[in-house]
Symmetry: C2
Subunit: 234 residues, 2 copies
């Protein structure tokens, strides 16, 4: 079965992949339409999950007081982590805009509940982390769907999970996986912010691909694909 | 900025999300075109990553001997995990088709290398797992891109990571995150295999959404969205 996607459908899909950004600024005050938000959450809920365990929950946060507390957690953690790096990187790090907690229309905490449908979940016995991995797949579905809907998403990872659990009343056995800021934006940046800021470059695609074994970057059986990768995507 | 996706582009994107399946059977012998594979890998490489660290690698595996060893690992782990559950679930579990290691066109191991661009990665100090989470986002991009290209993907998680590391020569500090089987298929199932098999049902969307705090399933501020979710997606 090939070609059940038209060229236009493929283009729509890839447009979401390549124009998606991790958004920390450019948020506008415009609220997210409930229907749009429902579609975004429904896309997340249709992610793959180990043993079909659907171990995710989505906590939608509009309340400003809760968000202020989360922002304080961000500020403590940013200050703590900036001490781990030396100037000039430290100053650069502290100059970067890294969150949109209060100026985005909506915050969203995505959690992992290992007890859902447990304790025996098909495919989770050998590698228990696959439960967490499933939640990440849902987050990426959400992120891409938001992009297709014109909604920016920023993942704030400079936070204390203990603070999140306290502020949002998350029980001991549940893991906060992502804290996201969602909202309409004035524009989506052409490149990732950290690339534009000169922090790091995107690696050439060929540098992340190995053939048959770790660290094996060349194999005669694979010449053609290497050529494709070199000529098309570097 | 709204509406930079046409209805057709949105449809193409959502088609990938809703028709994507975890494929364990229906693989055909047709090889994956190198250009198609390049596009799928390039989509994966354009996933978000904490601090733009791009900590993923993709090991492409065609070699049958390596795959046979991985399949032996699957069989050992399946046998081991089947002992954790009692009949009738045990018999049902053992009757399910759970991998396509040898009959898919290509196997692919996706790994996480925490040393890449390290040790200081922006946003990874407070929650080190965000490195692993980034790799999962890449896997979901890959999975959706494959679907748009008509290529099935199955994630085999009934495996020993130690076996994978040995067979593929993966160094100690690198984590195998996913072992995927890729190939063209005779068809994509309408529903997830575990849903069709009566193992579990998809939860109603409203059951995975909370408002403001954990376990808070109702809030008057959110009435409209709850209604949307109930009427459109259950």
């Amino acid at each position: 079965m090939n070609g059940d996607f038209s060229p236009q459908e493929k283009d729509g899909f890839y447009k979401a992949v390549f124009s998606r950004r991790d958004v920390r600024s450019h948020f506008t005050a415009e609220p997210i339409d409930d229907m749009v938000l429902s579609r975004i959450l429904n896309a997340a809920h249709h992610a793959p999950s180990v043993g079909f365990s659907q171990p995710w929950n989505f906590i939608l946060i509009k309340d400003k007081q809760a968000r202020r507390e989360v922002k304080e957690s961000f500020e403590r953690e940013r200050s703590r982590s900036s001490a781990l790096v030396e100037d000039p990187k430290r100053s650069k790090y502290l100059s970067l805009r890294l969150e949109g907690i209060l100026d985005s229309a909506l915050n969203l905490c995505v959690t992992y509940d290992p007890s859902k449908f447990g304790p025996f979940v098909i495919g989770r016995s050998s590698i228990p982390e696959t439960g967490l991995y499933s939640v990440c797949c849902a987050i990426q579905n959400l992120w891409l769907a938001a992009r297709a809907e014109g909604v920016g998403v920023g993942w704030v990872s400079i936070l204390s999970n203990n603070d999140l659990k306290r502020v949002l009343g998350i029980p001991e056995h549940v893991v906060p996986v992502a804290y996201l800021c969602l909202g309409h934006v004035t524009n989506f940046a052409e490149k990732p912010d950290l690339e534009s800021a000169g922090w790091l470059n995107r690696l050439p695609l060929k540098d992340v691909i190995y053939y048959e074994r770790w660290n094996n970057a060349k194999d005669s059986n694979w010449e053609q694909i290497q050529e494709m990768i070199l000529s098309n995507f570097d």
